[in-house]
Symmetry: C3
């Protein structure tokens, strides 16, 4: 009777499966402090209870990406333990801020399956939701991963590829209850530039860089109870390197984007994301952004901005893809997301 | 007037001495979060207030081993600053869970003394207790260490070797007040296997591994205010290596054992423990377990399981000792402890 | 329209300027736990709510130096992003302890300007104050930094060099409201030596050492939202080294000084400080102290002690300056500060 979890293989998924992920997690001030120690995170709403209250929230929530990591991390043992690659994200929405004392759990539904032509692997699409102790969904997102088959001779399932939005409609973005930027203080937020100061097509080099350490990415990845071996075990890959959790790069890039986007306070939508190339200890991560779109929201003091956030290593900003459409080797992350900003 | 603490030497201990250790410590959500960042700890009772409440506790306590580390750490300046080796543990009992807001201090009584035949060192046995702000004992354990003599010509004390139990009787294990696993949810805990699914003699390879980093073991050891030089000062040993606190290996192995023993929720007894070989940065730590014994408890929803937990480096599980009875070089830890599980 | 903060240059400062620094920060138990994980900090007042209450405070505050780091860190983007060197500190006072739940922000006033003879740089003197959510000043200090000019041809400002006290008068030190050491327990604090046991001129070798890791100094520096590139980006300096935030050395040395000064509980004044030589990962930091002065306070149970705290690397304590008055190369920090101790 094998007691350990070997993870699911491609043939273990069925369309419509609902998987309740294990190990709920209560968030405290400790997780908030760790997030601020691990990333140069400075968005004021997530740093100061007073700033959050002036913006209509009861207190400063944990960073939106910390909430994402907790929800994502719980899904790893059931979804991506045998994943060859994390292929993409879509339709991510933050629905409720997460506060100290909240307890999160995750549930995923299998919404797509497609065996690869090799017959050795397949793509699994899941919609993962994070729920709090009141069974309210605090966030949800779709991701798809390439998973190994246990038995290459297992029959292929019927192919189902879900129709996913290229981008969330601005009208479908959800503002946290009470959020209002009428009294927004740009001296305290660290940047005079408001929603109206950014133009579609504008690009921003976020200037700063952080050199990645093994201890830091492991602390981060464990904090979210993400258990994928490849992040922790230097004997797992032939080259002796520990692959860095893609979410570590997302959080690092988002934090670096403060310098130029300090008022891109809350992340409310995740349209797409690609981990373009692997990141390893010793890489120096930098970031640049492009303004993709802008929209009004239901609140006249708040505007929505759709951003591309690119993390790269080395020092060549603004390069993205080669002529053949492939990412240049120094690009680590290409993320497409919606934020809300003060008007 | 020397102001620094040079630590006690063998001739400084007398049978019956009661040593009140310094620097009480208040536990907050920060210590809980750090513990989860330092170890892949996922036992649900220590991760979720909701899960803990469903199990009859008022909230999620800090990990039992975190409580152990706090209590142990306080004893280091008085007991093991001049220790040559930490020889063993016995009769460890967890009596009350430790919650955020609790303040712990430690007291040790000298219960045994035996000078070694070399005349240069001796073995000191102490029973160390951790007390909370209400002066309730939250845990206690016996440990014995080999300590240098200050003066080799100092007379040997009368030899007193305490009679210590090979293992705590299951009947003497203490369940936290209110603990009940009648409504235990194995989907949330992450493992379908209950107490009845484990057989005496069964062994489990916990599969996962973590490569140790200097920054991580130092963060951990400092968090428990353990001050032994050898963990922090690369100039202390001739080989320039920092010796890793044995408790770091204990917590790492216990956390890794989640994969196969996710329902071994609470540690209630420590029967024995040996730090078989030293651990250094760069070692990849893995773990395997053996079911040594099983017993009922006073609560029909809760069973007790006695486990051997072995931490080792490299990739050869299930090896333990050579023919001559010595541990094989890759074994780091051999721990014998009692847990409680849902029936 | 450049969106990123390039920092201020020498010609951007005017005497009397008041700069409100961005990103207020709410402190929780997480910051306290991180501080204890990053430094071997054991002063009992900052470790135990019970000990703090026995000393007349409502709870255990965060370490005085953690409060300093938060206040300092906020000033970095406006004061020292283009600093060539952090030249000195003076007139630092801790006015109110900082507790969990407090939100801090920082304000600096420009009090001195002096262009260097090269015409390429100048010295900026600021008085920086940290304020809590009630707009009470919790601490303040003067620091001066050498800052690059953007344009070497910009005219020099009128030279104003503020008159700064060599040392704060003991009579001007502020004791936290309610602080009383009448019931001080030296068994719990970890050291029998009280204020009366220290003599002016006495020196103490603090014995212990900690080898510095990249991950640890970056975690610390980010925790205080200090954004100076040189601490994080290994590509920033030609030698590929990350310069360690001087405050990391201050906190490390202060924590190491526990062994010999465990009853030097609260820091109440900062008279002077020099970062004598740079510190890098791999250095082993040690510390020694010298008693510079002693004074009574308004409370008969509390004495003030003025200390020199020297951090150095390697193993040669008590060396400080060469015959020509320059610091010997192994000295990292020379700090002059006031503490309060139990009489």
């Amino acid at each position: 009777m094998l007691k350990t979890n070997a993870g699911r293989f491609f043939e273990d998924y069925t369309i419509g499966d609902v998987i309740h992920h294990a190990v709920p997690r209560t968030i405290s001030g400790g997780e908030r402090a760790m997030y601020h120690a691990l990333y140069p995170a400075r968005h004021a709403l997530y740093s100061s209870d007073e700033f959050a209250r002036a913006s209509g929230l009861p207190a400063s929530p944990i960073d939106d990406l910390a909430a994402f990591h907790v929800v994502f991390g719980k899904s790893v043992p059931d979804i991506s333990l045998n994943a060859v690659a994390n292929l993409g994200y879509a339709e991510g929405k933050w629905l409720k801020p997460v506060y100290e004392g909240d307890t999160l759990r995750s549930v995923s539904e299998v919404i797509g399956l497609k065996q690869n032509s090799s017959g050795k692997t397949g793509v699994v699409y899941v919609r993962t939701s994070g729920l709090n102790q009141h069974n309210e969904t605090v966030m949800e997102f779709v991701r798809w991963v390439m998973v190994r088959k246990r038995d290459e001779n297992a029959p292929a399932p019927e192919t189902v590829v879900p129709e996913l939005k290229q981008s969330i409609d601005a009208a479908d973005l959800v503002l946290p209850e009470g959020l209002d930027f009428s009294n927004y203080d740009t001296a305290l937020s660290g940047d005079p530039h408001r929603w109206g100061d950014y133009a579609i097509g504008e690009t921003i080099d976020h200037v700063d860089g952080v050199t990645i350490e093994e201890a830091e990415h492991m602390l981060a990845t464990r904090l979210w109870q993400n258990t994928a071996k490849v992040h922790f075990d230097a004997m797992h890959r032939d080259d002796g390197q520990r692959l860095i959790y893609g979410g570590h790069v997302i959080s690092m890039a988002r934090a670096l984007s403060f310098n130029g986007l300090a008022n891109a306070q809350m992340i409310v939508g995740l349209n797409a994301g690609a981990h373009a190339n692997p990141c390893f200890s010793g890489d120096t991560v930098r970031a640049w952004s492009e303004v993709l779109d802008k929209a009004d929201t239901s609140n006249p003091s708040i505007g929505a901005t759709r951003l591309r956030l690119v993390a790269y290593k080395g020092d060549a900003a603004f390069e993205l893809k080669r002529d053949d459409g492939k990412y240049v080797p120094q690009v680590l992350l290409d993320l497409d997301y919606w934020v809300v900003m003060p008007k």
